[in-house]
């Protein structure tokens, strides 16, 4: 019986220092795949290594032996002693292994649930396995199911729906206000790291121009250069409000820098085009009253954090839905896996008939004396079609879906009826010889 096994560690089971030791980098992946492929009991295999997990997925006939060999290999490779390694490893087999890889692919096992990078990493790992020809019937099917399930979960649930980082949440809000951020003008007041990060995301969304105002001019120039923007002085901020669409403030000023009156005045000049303030500073750089002004929107760091928190808890709710979809897929895949059980029996059955046919043909043909090639051919055909037709119905019966629940019983009966057990091979030989 073929088994699927998954051995690995992730951000929950292993601290980063140990994960680093076991991580398989780009340069060493070929070497590692080479070693694992040659482990005797392993039939198919795949290695997945990201900053949050290291996993080896394989199929085997000898679960115990293969598992031991893989653990031994991990000890050698990571230089972690067996005593230290075992407690941080998880070993899943069969249904649990299937469920685990489905959950990993669907980003349910990620540090931040629903983060989208993982599926790309799993695809890459599978591609490498294909390059090494270490993936075959079972892993191919398992991985394709993983990919399609991940896609289905991503589209049918909101597991990756809403932003879970400050910068993403700000960009998302910007899009809900302006529609398209393309061509919008951005002003950074204060040039902290967080403001810089938010600006980077905005640039990704093709905003037009970034202007920077900072108390220390040198830092302003530094940041402006980074975004091919320009610097302005603090005194110019009032005038700039006429043209700018998005303002990110992050200065350490104890007093607000942007006042309600200033914005009200600017609104007239800009014909009420919307103005979006992202105030990352504590204490606030933008007067709270600004949010009351029509077409002006102010989000402080606390507002953004609040959004992220509620989005995270939304994702967790959605994850429940996703887990149910995973459960369904695990059952379907296990069913398919079971259909593989009938293959050896059917093969044995066919083999047995072929053997009988060959032996009987040999006997009969020698008794029949001289035949023309056509006659000989038609006798052979007769034998082939008789065996084929006799076997046809039993094989269809064994393969049919309706009998899935009692398949093991029928397999057993078939093996006994046709005497297919391997230890009977000798007696077969005896009786025919």
């Amino acid at each position: 019986m073929i088994k699927i096994v998954n051995i690995g560690m992730n951000h929950e089971t292993a601290p980063v220092e140990l994960r680093e030791l076991a991580a398989v980098g780009k340069h060493s992946i070929d070497e590692v795949m080479g070693v694992i492929r040659t482990i005797e009991d392993i039939k198919e295999s795949m290695v997945l290594s990201t900053c949050n997990r290291v996993e080896i997925l394989f199929t085997t006939d000898n679960e115990k032996g293969a598992t031991e060999s893989v653990i031994d290999f991990l000890c050698r490779y990571s230089q972690i002693s067996r005593e230290k390694l075992l407690p941080i490893l998880y070993i899943y087999n069969d249904q649990e292994a299937i469920r685990h890889i489905f959950r990993v692919g669907a980003s349910l096992d990620s540090l931040i649930i629903g983060e989208p990078q993982i599926i790309g990493q799993v695809k890459e790992a599978y591609r490498i396995a294909l390059d090494h020809k270490s993936s075959s019937v079972i892993l191919n099917k398992l991985m394709h199911r993983t990919f399609s399930l991940a896609k289905k979960i991503r589209t049918e649930t909101e597991i990756s729906g809403s932003a879970v980082s400050i910068s993403f949440a700000a960009v998302e809000l910007g899009k809900k206000i302006f529609g398209d951020l393309k061509g919008k003008k951005v002003l950074l007041i204060g040039a902290g790291e967080m403001a810089e990060l938010a600006a980077t995301y905005l640039v990704h969304n093709r905003v037009d121009k970034i202007k920077v105002a900072n108390r220390t001019f040198r830092r302003a120039v530094e940041v402006a250069d980074q975004f091919h923007g320009e610097t302005i002085s603090f005194e110019e901020i009032g005038d700039q409000l006429l043209h700018i669409d998005i303002v990110i403030t992050s200065t350490s000023s104890p007093e607000p820098i942007i006042s309600s009156d200033q914005v009200k005045k600017a609104m007239k000049g800009r014909k009420n085009r919307p103005l979006f303030f992202i105030d990352i500073a504590v204490p606030r750089n933008v007067e709270p009253g600004v949010n009351e002004i029509e077409n002006a929107f102010v989000y402080t760091i606390d507002d953004l954090k609040g959004i992220i928190e509620s989005n995270l808890s939304k994702r967790k709710d959605e994850a429940v839905k996703a887990e149910r979809m995973v459960d369904e897929e695990v059952i379907k895949f296990s069913e398919w896996l079971k259909t593989l059980d009938v293959v050896p029996t059917i093969v044995a059955l066919k083999e047995k008939c072929k053997k009988i046919r060959q032996i009987e043909l040999k006997k009969s043909l020698s008794n029949l004396g001289n035949l023309t090639p056509e006659q000989r051919k038609s006798v052979e055909n007769l034998a082939v079609s008789i065996t084929k037709k006799v076997l046809n119905d039993p094989i269809i019966f064994l393969k049919s879906k309706e009998n899935r629940s009692s398949r093991n019983l029928y397999l057993d009966i078939t093996q006994k009826l046709f005497n297919l057990d391997s230890n009977n091979e000798n007696t077969n030989k005896k009786s025919y010889k």
Binding site: G179, K271, N272, E294, F297, D303
Partner: protein, 279 residues
Amino acid sequence: MDILFFKLSLIVYLIASAGFLFFIIKKNKKVGYWSHKIMLLGFALNSIYLTLSYYQLGAVPALTFKTSLSFLSWTIIAAYIIFQVKFKLMVLGSFVVPFSTFLMIISSTIPISTITVRPIFKGLWLPLHVGTSLLGDGIFAIAFIAALMYLIQERQIKSKRLGAFYTRLPSLNSLDSLNYHAINYGFLLLTIGMITGSIVAQGSHGSYWRWDPKEVWSLITWLCYAALLHQRMAAGWRGRRSALMSIGCFLILIFTFVGVNFLMEGYHSFESLERSQLP
């Protein structure tokens, strides 16, 4: 025969409405896509119904409250289809299609009344007057719905409680610009409707303007929308304020459409339209 097409289109609209509601709740794009297709089918059936009734009646099928409601629901969908080409706001359908279906349902509950078509109802000017006025009304309905959506979305963003509507509704900018465009075109059609109406009146009553309540209220509606357009263009009104005003204008329009015909006597009232003699 024609009533069969009415019933068929109502059933198809009901299916499309259910689809559009499912689409906005579940955010299932495929369902939205198919709902749109189904709605197009309903629109085609409704168009067949209106064409058949036009030929049967020999006049534009908007002389009774029942028929003008069903005609209005047709123009709303027509306006939606046209705006959809430019704005591609599928979620708008989740508001427009159920709204329009609701009008159809009301129309279907009103008993059919046979009317005598007076000679002045025939000819080109009356269909032009009714067609442009009602298409204008349909486009104003789109502006109204866009304004409502704007206010909901703006509330969500300002209050910082990003609820279920936040992700589903389009951006403030697209809603505001949809509202603006709809009011522009609606205003144009309303103006044409009033001009052609006065031409019809000249033909039937001998004067262009008779201070009939419908005429007066149409003028009030026209002035309101004119004021709104002026504020948008000259004073730079945008967003919340113009959304509120376009909702106010639409309420006046509804009164002009429904209230005047029932509450006030005049040659526009459906009661007098159904009579065979001129008042």
